[in-house]
Symmetry: C2
Subunit: 352 residues, 2 copies
């Protein structure tokens, strides 16, 4: 299924007339002018996705890998478009886009998630509705094929916002989310990474998750639908070698994920611990709402704050007027943008 | 140990000359003027604690219960004072105050925590350093006597911000946090509450945790130390009858707990799900920092937002200049304030 979607997406990417994407990307450490944002739309829709940020450079990626990632990002855009183009909700669109990336082993979410220190795959996800600020979040899932679908079920149930562990998998199963053998999430590439991590650690070398993967592979999507409502969703396997039941920023409402129709919808990827401390997603919304900053100004300012604390990563942001922004302080971020006005962008490096 | 501390605290409370506490409490739904805040201090220290908010009315509380709660709140203030008065850090002070309340069965934190739907006690806590915005959070602990001490160990370790479950208890044990038999946390009163909850649920009646306890019993502390640094800590057993590995706002950095020397330190208690969706603690700090609001204005505005979504509860707030504020939209909040300038207040009801 993935392969055929990827093929379709590749074809779509080739026929699209992309706008100059470089206009929408902020060089690390710089703040862009307002004019760099996409124009406001009324009645139209906007979708942005990301597949992680990090030391993603042309000299480290083969032409085939480059094409695979672009196709996968585009496939996620197409999944969201299928919802938005027929008048569907932002909430449904971000879920559809993220579910597709959860299935794709290229990304650190769902299938293809990194391994914990105990050699398990533990999955975190969140989804938020900007219209009502209802939210659902899950952490440490091990059997739910689509963690974001469990998060959506939590949102729909409404009693709690955040569920964790095997209990949360059972909650998802009860509500129809497909359950898999935990082995389904494990891929050879991620197994090699945890082996390398544990080997270095045993050698008493200081080793960070980032040393191993060189990137933060969280996936996410933000959207504005034709009714003007916003939504955000994020899903991740977290950090290679994470320990002691660690939860990162992705499922923390306000850190890795936030949506508020009064301001914007944000999904983040990066060194989660810094994103939690800064409250990245909520802080971007707060700057837009309280300080009157543009999406790009707010996103750049908050990413600069993350950098000042020692962290790196990136965010995607969508606003209620159709404007949107990317901001990241790494060498690359897998990302895409699609709008009802014909904007269709897929990019990887920070000079695109 | 508790009893002697309580006795000492009672004595202290009786000898203190409390300032008119009503000045510092905001009537539900109203916004206070700036002047209602305590004056700024330089070189001095400030400590606020809370022990939960809810339908806490004189006609529901015996004179003995009233006195017990006041003594327990005052004991927490004294524990923090022991740190602050000798020049200790805000971080140490809030931990000391919260640990004392975790040991006290009167509060829904540590010993005396409410029961989950599975009849277990699962403990959440967080602590944050306003100087560095370093943070530690834990959820679903079942054996660590002082969950806030495990959160502090997470902060100190620095690799992760949030740990969960049995793995987090083990992390705490490795770092010297006292481990107990899970039965230690269970009290007869809380057992009656879960029995009543499950009985009503079995009768197919709609039952909320709040119906049972009539309050949210989270505990917390915020402080400003003599060096001008801030800290916040929160600890809770969550909601009676919570299910599926639910995590509330207390351990969510930005929701129930946040500290930032540039703005304020906040600890919350209330209907956690709403506090997560609003991002209460971070939002109060954001309003102070970005919109120039006073602590009281910001706290009142955010509590009004929680109320508008359907939630209730309260917050305690301390600022870098020694100012502080309480805000709650319930009939009572167990609370106290102590400063190096001689302010010494302990209160329960919203008309105090």
């Amino acid at each position: 299924m993935i392969l055929s979607l990827v093929a379709a997406a590749l074809a779509a990417a080739q026929t699209a007339a992309p706008q100059p994407f470089a206009d929408a990307v902020t060089p690390p450490g710089e703040t862009r002018a307002d004019t760099a944002e996409t124009p406001a739309t009324t009645g139209g829709w906007t979708l942005l996705v990301h597949g992680g940020a990090g030391t993603i450079r042309r000299d480290r990626i083969t032409a085939e890998q480059d094409a695979d990632y672009r196709a996968a990002i585009d496939a996620a855009l197409m999944a969201g478009r299928a919802v938005l183009a027929k008048g569907g909700s932002a909430l449904d669109a971000v879920q559809a886009a993220v579910e597709l990336m959860e299935d794709d082993p290229l990304f650190n979410a769902g299938r293809g998630a990194v391994f914990t220190h105990d050699r398990t795959n533990e999955l975190d996800a969140a989804i938020m509705d900007g219209r009502t600020r209802a939210a659902g979040a899950v952490a440490r899932l091990t059997t739910s094929r689509h963690p974001v679908a469990v998060a959506r079920a939590v949102l729909r149930d409404g009693r709690h916002v955040m569920l964790t562990g095997a209990d949360a998998d059972r909650f998802g199963a009860d509500r129809g989310v497909e359950q898999m053998d935990p082995a389904w999430f494990a891929t050879p590439h991620r197994r090699e990474q945890i082996d390398e991590f544990l080997r270095r650690e045993a050698g008493a070398k200081a080793v960070s998750s980032y040393d191993i993967d060189q990137k933060f592979g969280t996936v996410g999507a933000v959207a504005r639908d034709a009714r003007g409502h916003l939504a955000a969703a994020t899903s991740t396997g977290g950090l290679t070698g994470k320990r002691w039941g660690r939860i990162g920023d992705a499922p923390i409402i306000g850190a890795g994920t936030y949506a508020d129709d009064r301001a914007c919808a944000v999904s983040a990827t990066g060194a989660g611990e810094y994103f939690i401390r800064v409250g990245v997603a909520h802080e971007i919304c707060a700057r837009v709402r309280l300080a009157g900053e543009s999406l790009q100004q707010a996103a750049d300012a908050v990413m600069a704050e993350v950098l000042a604390l020692g962290g790196s990563g990136g965010v995607i942001v969508a606003g209620p007027d159709g404007r949107s922004a990317f901001s990241f302080n790494t060498e690359g971020m897998y990302r895409g943008r699609l709008t009802s006005d014909g904007v269709h962008e897929v990019a990887i490096y920070n000079d695109e």
